[in-house]
């Protein structure tokens, strides 16, 4: 107490001595609007109890990391989000990345796979989008080609598909593993399976309503985890990254993610499972945005909040249920189309945030990603950015190296407090599902994005190449182009599949899926049969649409 009084007095004196009138701005604040002092002292972390609030890595409340030895034991996974053209071309890119040191895969799918539409569906000019923004995975045949020759019993694969098609695409993957004789309990990987990505991050063509999406998401979790069919598979990845990209701040990012997790937990508990039957497999995907220290504090605050949520609200006992594990992607929305080489530096700083914040895996963006999928040159540089951190900088040698910084600890506490407050606001709006239906979430997103746009347009938020240090007449960088033959190749692949499969059997299984849609039983057992027998993504997803109807998204808020 004596010491803290003395520090306060000295701080006061020091402040008087600084020329505060000559600061660059009237008010300094973080990206989330938290007012910043010019200097932090022990007095800013007075309320912090080391053992209660910070503790040791691998121990509650996990502020310093979820594993006891963190990167001293195993470095984070280099996991690049990648997919384009055809499954064969994506397979080649994956092999190249693997050879260059990538340690985990992540499949970006095209808009048809995302929305559950076959390329030969009579929708106007659909072929234009085949293989354009990701790999086309319309049946088990595509999946076989995607992972051909890759050590999937040894390396984890993330399938970035959402509840409209997550059950179908994941079952294709599981069936390919079975074909190869790999036992399901050896499969490590993740399905993103995130209802908010499918509703506020990206609004797919002919979407299902939030209740149906939540049901499908929980069916996959239930099948993999408490039912034990794929015990090492992470059946959901609450993708806060995608919500953040829509313009919200760090506080909202984590609060949306926690509220989303709560919706799934409550649904699974209502199905009769216990929290420790499944919570150990719930994982997150966060953003690494511009504000360096705030982002690092955000990861630390998220771990502490998850621990408290699991302990206090859900009475979880298994320590793993209380460990907040997360993948990080550097912020695509922070990249500029102008002066694209600057993106290399942006990404390096953001990657460093993720590592200093204790992520489990990391995707670093390529410098050309503001305008197109990455070229081989650009993606290799992004992989090297991570390897540079691992091999040259020494940042992975000491755990949570910023722990104990007055500033970072104060920011961690402040964020924790604000995130919880905002989380309660979402609960007051009825929770995630209600907040989606009522449009509340859309209103919040639109408000946040408008604010951000105006900040950039007024110059208050600086973006190099966009509103400062701009250059005239830059020579545009030639973009990466996907295979123009992709549509023809994929339509032929489907025609061949339809000719070879037992279509009567597929139709019978589709009738079975309809029945399951009516009774609202778990869709996964019949889904495993369907994709094994060659049912297509469109046949499956249209069954959901026919049975449950479409949702009119209140996106204007």
């Amino acid at each position: 107490m004596e010491e803290s009084k003395k520090i306060a007095e000295e701080e006061e004196k020091w402040l008087l001595g600084t020329e505060t009138g000559r600061e660059r701005k009237d008010r300094f604040e973080s990206d989330a609007g938290i007012g910043l002092k010019s200097l932090y002292t022990p007095n800013d972390v007075k309320g912090v109890d080391y053992l209660r609030d910070i503790g040791f890595p691998g121990q509650p409340p996990y502020t310093r990391g979820v594993y006891p030895n963190m990167y001293r034991g195993r470095l984070w996974t280099i996991r690049m989000f990648s997919g384009f053209g055809t499954p064969e071309e994506t397979n080649q890119r994956w092999k190249m990345l693997h050879e260059e040191g990538e340690t985990g895969f992540s499949a970006a799918v095209d808009s048809l796979t995302f929305a559950g539409v076959d390329p030969d569906d009579p929708i106007d000019w659909l072929e234009a989008e085949v293989g354009k923004e990701g790999v086309p995975l319309y049946s088990i045949r595509g999946m076989e080609s995607l992972v051909e020759g890759l050590p999937i019993d040894d390396m984890s694969v993330a399938l970035v598909v959402e509840p409209l098609t997550s059950a179908a695409v994941t079952s294709m993957y599981f069936n390919v593993a079975r074909e190869r004789g790999i036992p399901m309990d050896r499969l490590r990987g993740t399905t993103q399976n995130d209802i908010l990505t499918m509703t506020i991050g990206y609004v797919p063509w002919h979407p299902l309503g939030p209740d149906d999406l939540l049901k499908l998401a929980c069916d996959l979790i239930e099948y993999c985890t408490p039912m034990g069919e794929a015990p090492k598979w992470n059946p959901v990845n609450f993708t806060c990254y995608n919500y953040r990209e829509g313009g919200i701040d760090a506080v909202q990012e984590i609060a949306f993610g926690l509220a989303n997790a709560v919706a799934h937990i409550d649904e699974l508990l209502s199905r009769g499972w216990k929290i420790d039957d499944f919570a150990f497999r719930l994982a997150f995907h966060l953003a690494a945005q511009k504000d360096f220290f705030e982002e690092i504090a955000k990861y630390r605050a998220a771990r502490r909040l998850w621990y408290r949520l699991m302990t206090e609200r859900y009475k979880a006992e298994d320590p793993v249920s209380k460990q907040f594990r997360f993948h990080v992607q550097t912020a695509g929305s922070s990249l500029s189309a102008q002066q694209p080489m600057v993106n290399i530096m942006r990404t390096a700083y953001q990657g460093l945030e993720a590592v200093l914040g204790g992520c489990q895996s990391l995707h670093t963006n390529s410098f050309d990603e503001a305008v197109c999928l990455p070229t081989e040159e650009a993606v290799l540089l992004a992989v090297r950015t991570q390897q540079l951190m691992r091999e040259e900088t020494g940042v992975a040698d000491v755990i949570d190296p910023l722990g104990g910084s007055y500033y970072v600890e104060a920011m961690t506490g402040e964020l924790e407090h604000r995130i919880w407050e905002y989380f309660e606001k979402i609960e007051d709006a009825g929770g995630i599902v209600e907040a989606l239906k009522s449009g509340w979430l859309y209103k919040e997103m639109n408000k946040a994005f408008d604010r951000r746009r105006k900040a950039v347009e007024s110059g208050e938020e600086k973006v190099i190449g966009v509103n400062c240090y701009t250059m005239e007449e830059e020579e545009p960088h030639p973009p990466f182009r996907t295979n123009p033959e992709a549509a023809r190749i994929e339509i032929e692949r489907l025609e061949k599949l339809r000719a070879e499969r037992d279509s009567a059997r597929v139709n019978k299984l589709l009738d079975g899926l309809k029945k399951v849609c009516e009774t609202r039983e778990n869709v996964m057992p019949v889904m495993m049969d369907l994709t094994r027998e060659g049912a297509t993504i469109g046949e499956i997803t249209n069954t959901f649409r026919d049975m449950w109807g479409l949702w009119d998204v209140p996106m204007m808020g």
Binding site: D110, S111, L112, F114, A115, V117, I123, D124, W125, L126, A128, E129, K132, E133, Y202, V203, P204, W205, E245, G246, G247, L335, S336, A337, Q338, A370, V371, C372, L373, N446, F449, D450, R453, E457, V463, G465, V466, N467, E474, P476, H477, P478, P479, R481, T482, M555, M556
Partner: protein, 132 residues
Amino acid sequence: MEKRRIRVLLFKPGIDGHWRGILTISRALTEAGMEVIFEGFETVDTIVEAALQEDVDVIGYSVHSGAHYEWNRQLNQTLKDKGVRDDFLVIIGGAIPHFDHEDLQADGADAVFSPGTDTRDVVRFIEENVDR
């Protein structure tokens, strides 16, 4: 005589669901006093019909799928086939490389807006070029 408000029809061709851009433009144009009709996902044929019926001045759409050449050609061709290409200002935005601007304009787009566009530049372009 007072000019009538500029009428703009916005849509997303295809099935790609990257909505943030078009939603943002919709809000910015509305703020600038324009009348915005937001059609969501639509086929080009339906959009051309709607544009004629609603008597709009501008057709705007956004592409993030990398299929901007295809949609641009299809929209401009459909307008030409109906003999109404000159009735509208046609603008396209989205994740479009600057490298592609010239080609897109040669294929009929009046303006192309890539990431990092100041929405006031879109407003200015429409106000200066629209034929009411």
